[in-house]
């Protein structure tokens, strides 16, 4: 157990930063990103032996899915119940881009979503992404291209 704790502790800050960043890019909320990063770390520790060799891409993927899941639930809750929601005090200037990014990721099959999350939410290179997921670099390129096409139709990035 001590070895697991040491390994988890050593990876803690890195994994938390990866999960936080992926969730924040999608949701634009520090509170939500904190919560998702915490949940990602809890899950990581709970099954550390299983994920240890690939904890970084695993954390990005889990945080991405938690964030997408949260937006889905939030949308359902909103459509049922509008009145009690307090308006946000500061509007998110990039809300459109985040919603587009969410929609694009949600529309992708699992493997493509992982590739796109690592490339666009964690800013990993094609080589890093390929190594992390155990894919050929050509596969990463093609997944990225297809994911990118989807993103291009939806997202208008700012300068």
């Amino acid at each position: 157990m001590a070895r697991v704790d040491a390994a988890f502790d050593a990876a803690f800050d890195d994994l938390r930063a990866l999960a936080y960043r992926a969730a924040y890019r999608l949701l634009g909320s520090a509170a939500d990103a904190e919560e998702i990063a915490g949940e990602t770390l809890i899950r990581a520790y709970a099954q550390w032996r299983r994920i240890e060799g690939h904890a970084q891409p695993w954390s990005v993927t889990v945080a991405t899915n938690l964030a997408l899941d949260r937006t889905r639930r939030a949308q359902v809750a909103r459509s049922h119940q509008r009145a009690l929601v307090q308006p946000d005090t500061t509007p998110d200037p990039h809300i459109e881009q985040r919603l587009d990014l969410q929609a694009a990721l949600r529309s992708l099959p699992r493997r493509q979503r992982e590739v796109v999350a690592l490339r666009y939410l964690a800013d990993w290179s094609e080589r890093e992404t390929a190594d992390a997921l155990g894919l050929e670099i050509g596969t990463v390129k093609s997944h990225t291209a297809r994911g990118l096409a989807r993103l291009r139709t939806l997202v208008a990035p700012e300068a």
């Binding site: 938390r16 930063a17 960043r21 919560e35 899950r43 520790y45 709970a46 990014l101 290179s125």
Partner: protein, 262 residues
Amino acid sequence: MPGTDQFRYLDDPAGPAALGPEDRARIRALGRRRRRQRQAAVALPVLGLAAAGVVGALALPGGGGPVRLTQIPSATSSTASTPAPTTSAPAPTVPSPSVGTASLPPPSNAPVQSAPTACRSSGLHVSLGPSQGTAGSIVTELHFTNAGTAPCTLFGYPGVSFLSAAGSQVGAPAARDERPAATVTLAPGATASTNMAVAEAGNYPPSFCTPQTATQLRVFPPGETVATTVALPGSGVQICSTQSQGAGGQQTHVTPLTPLGG
């Protein structure tokens, strides 16, 4: 090169808040519990409730009861006025439907209609309830109100620590006052309560305690990793920022959550 860095403008310029060793320990503890629950869930889902080391067959005190202060060294009696428990319920292995303001889902394999899930930090309003000052220590209620639109559940202890005005932790986080816990189901607007007992720094000899002013509480709802801060009334409370080990033990205690007034 499109792709990498393209969405950097969507980042949080501040980044995640700094975490202390307490937060890390908390995440590990929750992960450990999750692992046990997962293992237990395969065999018998009900056993998940026992994971927090809860013992059954004892009466549950209600929200208004005082907290046991046996570990706090104090020249004065710490039991002071003791209002009778407002509720008492047997604590069987399966949570009784009477503990909450909404009924729990049927335990059989009848179709379950949207069983309430655990309350999240974002859906709870945390506030201070009434407090009783006894000489040298304070017993105060901490209230957790369901601010959402659906019922949710709380089980066990909140994580509580004191913060200075600058936001740094003062003293050790609250210890758990070992008692039986039961799942509390909160209907929207309903409140659960915990009792927190604090021994003020004045109780301790200077060699044992360096007093520091705490002006707010950091509160983690059970099972959550996102904290809420609650301002303390007045100019705050004097807390021992350092304690020599083994010389009187924990300064702050919390009890398991129970329904307020119910």
